[in-house]
């Protein structure tokens, strides 16, 4: 490991990680509603990772969670800092990963991620997808648990992502997703139904 690449993480490791975890919980409990991480409790920037992505990595990853990195995030700095601050193993095999860090270009292909099994659906891989923004794409209507009526969400991800997700959504098995941009977090649990706007 290259010690020169290391950077400080959360200023208050315990409370800031708890705050970020709380934000992640709220994002999954209310799918399609943008949650914002407070500036004061964000970790310093890490090259390639937005602050929300970095904060969620620090809050969620540890020794028991192998993580898969998309080629865009597979840099020496990100590897060194994640292994140092989280202690998480970084794996090349998608099936072994409990978390995966993706960008918009690889979000079209969800092949190989663990969907959990009927007895332990919680063991599926959770995807962290970093986007340039959380608006400006084709609009979809989201409904399901945690949404009273409907939400219109227009994420800038390709159509390929939605068909891939649909193909892997075999409830209770499936993939939970966090979309991240800047300091914003948006959750998409497997239980949310996504339909094209009429």
């Amino acid at each position: 490991m290259n010690a020169a690449l290391l950077q400080p993480a959360f200023a208050d490791p315990v409370l800031d990680a708890q705050r970020s975890f709380r934000t992640a919980l709220k994002a999954l409990a209310g799918p399609g509603v943008v949650q914002v991480l407070q500036t004061a409790h964000q970790p310093p920037a890490l090259a390639g990772l937005d602050s929300a992505t970095h904060a969620l990595c620090l809050a969620l990853l540890d020794l028991d969670t192998p993580v898969w990195l998309a080629p865009a995030f597979d840099t020496a700095a990100i590897r060194a800092n994640l292994s140092f601050h989280c202690g998480c193993p970084i794996v090349g095999d998608r099936h072994k990963a409990r978390f995966a860090l993706l960008d918009a270009s690889v979000a079209q292909d969800l092949d190989g991620f663990d969907l959990g099994n009927d007895r332990y659906p919680d063991q599926s891989c959770t995807l962290l997808i970093q986007l340039s923004g959380l608006v400006g794409g084709p609009a979809f209507t989201w409904s399901g648990p945690g949404i009273e009526h409907q939400h219109r969400v227009a994420l800038p991800v390709g159509a390929g992502f939605w068909s891939e997700r649909e193909a892997r959504n075999d409830f209770p098995r499936g993939l939970d997703v966090f979309f991240l941009a800047g300091s914003q977090v948006l959750g998409l649990p497997r239980s949310t139904r996504v339909q094209e706007c009429a």
Partner: protein
């Protein structure tokens, strides 16, 4: 496994620094250098934090490993402005000492290594060796030899 001499030297001073908070004279010596240790731009990579570590032992030093118990450990990582990184791991809950030990480790990797070794590490090591020898002598005085008398039965 081959350990190169550089690693060995660093292991030695990290060990000496980790043990430097057990008695008052050692703490004082480290505190005396506090201003010099902090007199450089540095960044805390991992703020001093306290955790638990499982201590394992082997019966007689050779038997199967067993869990002896847990102990508190404090660790810290700092980086100086020129990129040298200092690490410290020590027993107990002394955060200030962990930070000083990490700073000292970083300084010891630089150009002034000889000065730091002579001023800080050697006196500390000497004091620790003396204390260990005294303790060994005290313990040796309580040693009891067990033996069995053989009765002339056969």
């Amino acid at each position: 496994m081959q350990i190169n001499p550089e690693t060995q030297a660093r292991q030695r001073w990290m060990g000496v620094l980790a043990r430097a908070h057990v008695d008052e004279p050692s703490r004082e010596r480290l505190s005396r250098h506090e201003a010099a240790l902090r007199d450089i731009d540095s960044q805390i990579i991992r703020a001093p934090e306290i955790g638990m570590s499982l201590v394992r032992g082997r019966m007689g030093g050779t038997g199967a490993a067993f869990n002896l118990g847990e102990m508190t450990v404090t660790r810290c990582v700092v980086r100086l402005a020129d990129g040298r990184t200092g690490y410290s791991y020590l027993a107990g809950r002394d955060k200030r000492h962990a930070e000083l030990a990490a700073l000292a480790d970083a300084h010891l990797q630089g150009t002034q290594q000889a000065w730091w070794l002579a001023e800080l590490i050697e006196p500390l090591a000497e004091a620790q060796a003396l204390r260990q020898a005294r303790k060994d002598a005290e313990t040796a005085a309580t040693k009891v030899e067990f033996f069995t008398l053989v009765r002339g039965e056969d």
